[in-house]
């Protein structure tokens, strides 16, 4: 199994600012995933992050809005840029080793 730590666990941010969410895994993993869970909705995959290459974004998500870093096999960051209230959501980091393991999520509120 994999243990995933996400920071921060929650934040309240002003519109127009950016927030970087960190995800640390206790073992080396090839692929890391970033999800968004908007209020009352399901988890939606934002992008897949592989070490040493650019992240692959899902339809509706772009690198300028959600830049991702993957500097090594145990760490990734997701930045939510130029935030608006519509970005208020829970953001989750995940790794997949025959089953998906999730971080505890970052609850973001944009005011």
């Amino acid at each position: 199994s994999a243990v995933i730590s996400q920071k921060p666990s929650r934040d309240i941010c002003q519109r127009g600012t950016s927030l970087t969410i960190q995800c640390q895994v206790d073992s080396q993993v090839t692929m890391m995933f970033w999800y968004r869970q908007q209020p009352g909705q399901s988890l939606t995959l934002i992008a897949t992050a592989n070490q040493g290459s650019e992240a692959t974004y899902e339809s509706g998500f772009v690198i300028d809005k959600f830049p991702i870093s993957r500097p090594n096999l145990t760490f990734s960051t997701l930045t939510v840029s130029n935030m608006s209230p519509e970005d208020s959501s829970i953001y989750l980091c995940s790794v997949d080793e025959t089953e998906a393991f999730f971080g505890q999520g970052t609850r973001l509120t944009v005011v």
């Binding site: 399901s42 988890l43 995959l45 897949t48 997949d96 089953e99 998906a100 999730f102 971080g103 999520g105």
Partner: protein, 113 residues
Amino acid sequence: AQSVSQHNHHVILSEAASLELGCNYSYGGTVNLFWYVQYPGQHLQLLLKYFSGDPLVKGIKGFEAEFIKSKFSFNLRKPSVQWSDTAEYFCAVIPTGFQKLVFGTGTRLLVSP
């Protein structure tokens, strides 16, 4: 559009009642199926999964799920719920050729003591 559907958004049960949460998917071909649970304030964690073999899958905490291919369903069951089963339950699918989970909208279960 291809999707995963959980028709019950909120379920309220008394302790010892039986539980069945529906999950249907619209992908053709081979799929891998999962149920995840999120207890209040905790991580998403895996309850059970189906890749192949016996379509009746047993998971942790007394949960089980049955894959019915003809119905594109993977319903979650528990014969007798406990107050500690209060949580949100998510069905998820990895369709053939994909490398990502597609989640249903979740079902929030409240078990009253």
